[in-house]
């Protein structure tokens, strides 16, 4: 009797869930140090799923977005993803922005044979995990090159680098920047590092000040960058800061205030871009959330749309077929540009340089891959 009961109990629950809806998992840093990333990408993802459902869903079913918060903490991402894979039986996973946390989830999805699409993790290692892991953004070797070219074009020859050693993203970005910069006549006059969560950067900045750089590359996330800018100006380090897409958050300006003005960073798109896809997205987003979207929202939206497009083409939500369909994504018209996934499962897209000016991120230039 008992084994029979067990079989009965097992059979009952997953069927009931998967009959009328397709469960799609999403993990994001809704709270914690990089909460702004998770909030934005989640809003974008939610908007895409709502749109698809309003238009009748996919494969005759509605999508059900299951969102888990990893609190921006290392280790937590693996826990919540494991939970969604085993309990919620998700057919695909969307997330994360931070590369370190995507790297926690990627091996789990690869092992389970569930496709994962990261909206904004730019460290190359993420998709190297396996053929089930994709992303809809460019990668750091490109972003590092963009920053380096920009610095050289500004005539900055002596640059100091400040890296967050706890984040794969920051370590990678600094490394690729240095490689291109030194190969093209630039000089790295100081290298300093810190760990996410640090609040005191005066020691590093004092050391950097001694080397009198033309610019300081701060390749970490907005959380620390805002504080770095404040303490840098306090110590009269007046060189502009230079960073990557990890800066993209209103919180950067909130914390940094005047100190962050005149600094530059590379990003996936600019809200000032007149392209109809972007302007249309802006309008929808503003009506829905009453807030201004950032790159993470746009990429969250794109990641969900790419998944839905692949489901339609595959005609199923089953792992291996869905994976093959995502891999063959070609010229998909997304908000952040036309997306074609290459052999390494990355998107080759152009980047934009933005300047922090008057508390806003102003468009400077577009750099093609």
């Amino acid at each position: 009797m008992l084994p029979l009961l067990g079989v009965f109990a097992c059979k009952k629950s997953p069927d009931a869930g998967s009959l009328d809806v397709i469960p799609v998992g999403e993990f994001a840093s809704l709270t914690g140090a990089t909460a702004s990333f998770g909030q934005s990408s989640h809003k974008g993802t939610q908007m895409a799923i709502d749109e698809v459902n309003a238009a009748g869903g996919v494969l005759g079913k509605k999508l059900k977005l299951i969102t888990e918060d990893d609190q921006s903490r290392p280790g937590e991402a693996a826990t919540v993803v494991r939970k969604m894979l085993s309990r919620d039986k998700i057919v695909a996973l969307l997330g994360e922005v931070a590369s370190s946390r995507s790297l926690e989830a990627a091996p789990l999805c690869q092992q389970a044979g569930i496709p994962m699409i990261s909206p904004a993790s730019t460290n190359p290692k993420v998709t190297e995990v396996g053929d089930f892991v994709f992303r809809v953004c460019f990668i750091d070797p490109f972003q590092g090159t963009v920053l380096s070219k920009f610095a050289l074009s500004k005539g900055w020859k002596k640059v100091a680098v400040l890296t967050d050693v706890k984040q794969d993203y920051s370590v990678g970005l600094s490394q690729y920047f240095k490689k291109h910069f030194t190969a093209n006549g630039g000089e790295i006059v100081g290298e300093q590092s810190y760990s996410s969560g640090d609040k005191d950067f005066k020691a590093q900045l004092t050391a950097i000040k001694g080397s009198q750089p033309d610019a300081v590359v701060a390749s970490g996330y907005y959380t620390e960058t805002g504080l770095i800018s404040l303490q840098a100006r306090e110590l009269q380090v007046n060189a502009p800061l230079l960073g990557g897409d990890g800066w993209d958050s209103p919180s950067l300006v909130e914390v940094g205030g005047k100190a962050i003005e005149g600094s530059f960073f590379s990003n996936h798109f600019s809200v000032e871009d007149p392209a109809p896809a972007i302007q249309g997205f802006l309008k929808k987003y503003r009506t829905k959330f009453g807030a201004e979207p950032d790159a993470m929202s746009a990429l969250g939206y794109d990641s969900a749309m790419i998944l839905v497009d692949a489901m339609k083409r595959a005609g199923t939500s089953e792992g291996p077929k869905l994976k093959a369909a995502i891999a063959s994504t070609k010229d998909f018209a997304a908000v952040t540009g036309k997306i074609t996934l290459n052999a390494e499962r990355n998107a080759d897209k152009s980047a934009v340089m933005l300047e922090v000016k008057g508390g806003q991120f102003r468009y400077v230039e577009t750099v093609a891959p």
Binding site: A33, K199, D200, K202, T206, G226, E234
Partner: protein, 307 residues
């Protein structure tokens, strides 16, 4: 040379905050012989109290000069933290007064977790901006050195608080009772000391200093979150042990030394060959070395004059 002096100043202002927290550890240890691990979280609550007081009172006290406003916030936070410290002592530690010290120690860890996660529930996990109580301005005329007025005020007020503390412990009846209790609780109560009141007072006083430390820390670094107390709390504990736990000047000197060493290690990481990511490890290596070679710390004498 200038760079070295600058690093020294950076280290001292960080060390001053460690010193204030370390004093709370050391006072409680002096009286009760146990480490109050929830101390770092009282510090965290102090920072949030400062943020809310600052936001609520700002619109009501528009005409007030900035220094008076900042002083009022500091005072309110210290009172709030003293109340919290007293409450924790009353609810968590007092019922365990006659129990083995290990029981109290484990309870302290429990209280610490309780405060952290209740904090996360109430304040949210995202870092919040601390309102700037004083306008940060560089102090001119120091050559190439950059010292902000806030750094100087932190050092100055810390010194003033220490003198007050010294006065309380050495010159008042309550201080006498504290010292008596620390020497021998039974004898003290036989001499008419109300041990319960003295212990509550000690907790309150230590927590008030943690509150002051919180306002300074938040003013210097401007971002606060529910887990902000963990690391400074641990570092302050190391500072207290470094100076000789139970010794007031020891906690002070230990805090300053730790702040300076940490800053110098980070600032000269390339010369020393230690990656700056190891800044936290430095504090704990110091702890291990102290425990191995001089367990009584710099100022810890056997049992003399511990409060």
């Amino acid at each position: 040379m200038n760079e070295f002096l600058q690093q020294l100043i950076n280290g001292l202002s960080l060390g001053a905050v460690y010193a204030l927290i370390a004093l709370g550890y050391t006072m409680v240890y002096g009286v009760l012989r146990f480490i109050n691990f929830a101390h770092g979280d009282v510090f965290m609550v102090g920072a949030f109290a400062g943020m809310y007081f600052g936001r609520w009172l700002k619109p009501h006290l528009v005409g007030w000069p900035e220094w008076l406003f900042a002083g009022l916030i500091l005072l309110l936070v210290m009172v709030a933290c003293a109340a919290l410290g007293g409450l924790v002592e009353r609810l968590a530690y007092k019922p365990l007064r006659e129990k083995p010290r290990l029981t109290v120690l484990i309870t302290a860890i429990g209280v610490s977790l309780l405060l952290e996660y209740t904090g996360q529930l109430i304040f949210g996990a995202a870092p919040r901006g601390f309102p700037s109580l004083l306008t940060s301005a560089p102090i001119a005329g120091l050559g190439g050195l950059h010292v902000s007025n806030i750094q100087m005020i932190v050092l100055g007020v810390t010194a003033a608080l220490l003198m007050c503390l010294h006065y309380i412990v050495m010159r008042t009846r309550m201080g006498l009772a504290m010292r008596a209790l620390s020497l021998n609780p039974t004898a003290a109560s036989l001499m008419g000391v109300n041990n319960s009141v003295v212990i509550s007072f000690t907790f309150g006083l230590g927590s008030a200093l943690a509150g002051a430390g919180a306002v300074f820390y938040a003013s210097l670094y401007q971002a606060i979150d529910p887990f902000m107390g963990v690391l400074p709390g641990m570092k302050a504990f190391v500072a207290a042990v470094l100076g000789g736990i139970g010794s007031l000047p020891g906690a002070m000197v230990g805090g300053l030394i730790l702040g300076v060493i940490e800053t110098l290690v980070v600032g000269y990481s390339q010369v020393l060959g230690v990656p700056p990511g190891y800044r936290d490890a430095v504090a704990f290596v110091i702890l291990i070395l102290i425990l191995l070679f001089k367990p009584s710390g710099l100022f810890g004498k056997t049992l003399k004059e511990k409060v």
